[in-house]
């Protein structure tokens, strides 16, 4: 099976979808001539030309809104936000227009847009560039939220996202862009709302997504070696829709739940999952649900300290040890 980086896998999905559907357009700041700020779209302008790969001015409200309008007429724009952090200047377009236009029109309008880009901390770019916005996006009915952790999923989920007739918010991670993984060849898609069991185990369930899957796997291996713990890891892949059944099944098996996320604790994805699990599987729990997330402050710049602010293997281990 071919080995691709996460970045190459997304590029492969974009390229295949461009070739498949003449209505797919890639747009964003520096996606064309500059080859992408993070090189996700490298080489695509040369291959597909300026009608399909479009550089926009630094004007997120304008171009995201324009993409939403174009999608109402059947274009399938894939809009790159250089950082998801920049969504705040396009927030009205995303939450009022993309999320609501179908509803407010009584179901007459579809909005098949994908907005993609990295949403993560850990790269010492300070508070303005390190927002993790999956909770804020998922709070808005009408939006779908995708958070792939590896190259194969990134490719398959991106293809699903582009074909989806609802607005899909696709959250990547700059630190994952260089991570390699086996990616099956061919036109493979993955349905949203189907979590992966990244590791099977019986002693404790970790529910996680994105880069935190890697920390969780490393922590589980460490504790298997040192203490013999057998930990199950669920990679959500998508936040909305959410694979609640897989979470509940795992909790019913392990009776202990740790949620690992690169979110601040207040009103996080983990808060939401904890609420659901205690509502629907209260009797299965042998311990309180714990969360390991980002320390509750704006993202610090200081490189060594930022590593401690966001989840890391040591903090995941500490979380597990409080439950086992």
């Amino acid at each position: 099976m071919p080995v691709l980086t996460y970045r190459e896998a997304i590029r492969a999905a974009l390229s295949e979808e461009i070739e498949r559907d003449p209505n797919v357009v890639i747009m964003g700041e520096e996606v064309a001539q500059f080859n992408g700020a993070y090189k996700v779209t490298e080489g695509m302008l040369e291959k597909y030309g300026p009608k399909r790969i479009v550089d926009t001015p630094i004007s997120e409200a304008g171009f995201i809104g324009m993409g939403i309008g174009a999608s109402m007429l059947g274009i399938r724009p894939v809009m790159e936000l250089m950082f998801w952090s920049f969504y705040s200047v396009a927030f009205d377009q995303i939450v009022n227009n993309a999320a609501n236009v179908r509803y407010m029109s009584g179901g007459q309008i579809a909005c098949p847009i994908v907005i993609r880009g990295p949403a993560n901390g850990g790269t010492n770019v300070g508070a303005t560039h390190s927002h993790t916005v999956e909770n804020i996006l998922a709070h808005h009915p009408g939006l779908k939220v995708v958070v792939p952790s590896n190259a194969a999923d990134a490719k398959a989920l991106m293809k699903t996202a582009i074909r989806d007739n609802d607005p899909v918010m696709f959250l990547e991670n700059t630190i994952l862009y260089g991570e390699k993984g086996e990616v099956p060849e061919g036109d493979i898609t993955l349905p949203f709302g189907r979590a992966a069991i990244a590791r099977t185990g019986k002693d404790l369930t970790i529910v996680t997504y994105g880069r935190c899957v890697l920390h969780s796997l490393a922590a589980a291996e460490t504790l298997r070696a040192s203490k013999g713990f057998d930990i199950e890891i669920i990679d959500l892949r998508t936040i909305r829709p959410l694979d609640v059944d897989t979470i509940l099944r795992s909790v019913a098996k392990t009776h202990r739940l740790l949620i690992v996320e690169e979110q601040r604790p207040y009103c996080s994805i983990g808060s939401h999952i904890a609420a659901i699990v205690q509502e629907e599987a209260f009797d299965e729990l042998d311990a309180p649900i714990l969360r390991v997330g980002t320390i509750d402050a704006p993202s610090i710049y200081s490189p060594p300290v930022e590593k401690q602010q966001i989840p890391n293997v040591d903090r995941v281990i500490a979380g597990i040890l409080r439950l086992l």
Binding site: A70, G107, T238
Partner: protein, 367 residues
């Protein structure tokens, strides 16, 4: 243009001009059949009567939320939308009833929408500010000032991308010109030669703040900064609106060029019905517009001069428009409300299909 307080009513004629419109001879107007002229007039009257009928319904508590009436501005929407071809598109803000009727929406579902009924044009999910009819190329009906302008630019982008010879008209009020999203859209449209007209319906007030208290400089002229052509015209004579927009639309369709069109108009009612309309403008100003520039009266006078309208026909059109608005109220009254089960329909395309495309939980419900 800058809005100045009108001269006092006493110094002006107290009647709308009965001299012929200087725009009647514009080719787009000269080409109109009598039936088409009457239809323009009828649409303006239908908008006026529909909205006047909304008022007592609102005051009786049967319409919730806001009600932004278009009364006084009818010539703008009717003139503009009468020029639409099959690949032309319209989007506007929350003062959207006039455009809805102008593009051809039936007033029954419009009234039912105000009542919050399932038979409303948006199934009772949008309300007054959110009328849509994509089948008529009418894309709303948007509640956030200026937020619809990037969408309208996107409609134009799609038209151009698909190789069609159409244009989008993105309407906004004079208050919207100060929103950042509008300027971002101007830049994109000019940069990429998108066939979009940014139509500013300048009624002089952004809510209760007059133009001179809210906007620096001339509104239409801001187009110059983007190297965009701009047009300024009066909005009281439907012929003038048509003549100006026809030129702009033809240029947009043929040359794929955007433009700003600033149209001078006036609303008689408050920003919304909840606006007491006593603090920021003089009653005499409203009366002056009513008496001297009312778009329906202006066009009625014109069509009488043209011998297209007769007193009997004027009366018939008015009576029919009043009857139509009554029928709309009856329809709305008799219609059922949506049910609680309808709340989670029309949220996602996916969940409205017989079979979902994804798995997992997409709605999160509480007892």
């Amino acid at each position: 243009m800058s809005k100045k307080s009108p001269e006092s009513a006493e110094t002006k004629s107290d009647a709308c001009a009965v001299k012929p419109s200087t725009h009647a001879s514009a080719p787009v107007n000269a080409a109109l059949s009598n039936a088409q002229r009457i239809e323009l007039y009828r649409k303006m009257v239908r908008i006026r009567r529909f909205e006047e009928r909304c008022l007592p319904v609102y005051n009786s508590g049967k319409i919730g939320g806001f009600l932004h009436l278009y009364i006084g501005q009818e010539a703008v929407a009717v003139g503009a939308c009468s020029l639409m071809g099959k690949d032309d598109h319209v989007i506007t803000a929350y003062r959207d009833h006039g455009h809805a009727i102008a593009v051809g929406m039936d007033t029954k579902p419009l009234m039912a929408e105000l009542y919050g009924k399932i038979t409303g044009c948006s199934k009772g999910k949008g309300g007054s500010m959110h009328y849509f009819a994509p089948d008529l190329n009418y894309w709303g009906g948007h509640g956030i000032v200026g937020g619809q302008i990037p969408l309208g630019t996107g409609l134009a982008y799609a038209v151009k991308y698909q190789g069609k010879k159409g244009a989008a008209m993105a309407f906004m009020g004079d208050g919207a010109v100060n929103q950042g999203a509008v300027h971002e859209a101007y830049n994109l449209a000019a940069l990429w030669d998108l066939p979009v007209l940014f139509v500013i319906e300048n009624n002089g007030y952004s809510m209760g703040t007059s133009q001179e208290r809210s906007s620096a400089g001339e509104l239409g002229k801001r187009a110059e900064a983007y190297d965009m052509k701009f047009y300024i015209c009066g909005g009281h004579d439907v012929y003038e609106v048509r003549a100006t927009l026809d030129a702009a639309l033809t240029r947009a369709r043929e040359q794929s060029k955007p433009a700003v069109v600033e149209i001078d108009t006036y609303r008689y009612r408050g920003h919304s019905v909840a606006d007491p309309d006593k603090t920021y403008r003089d009653r005499a100003e409203i009366e002056d517009y009513r008496k001297t520039k009312d778009p329906i009266q202006v066009f009625q006078n014109q069509l009488v001069l043209e011998k297209v309208l007769t007193p009997a026909l004027i009366e018939e059109i008015d009576a029919e428009a009043r009857a139509e608005s009554e029928r709309a109220v009856e329809f709305a009254e008799a219609s059922p409300f949506p049910t609680a089960a309808d709340i989670q329909k029309d949220v996602y395309w996916e969940t409205d299909q017989p079979k979902r495309t994804s798995e997992g939980r997409i709605f999160f419900n509480q007892p």
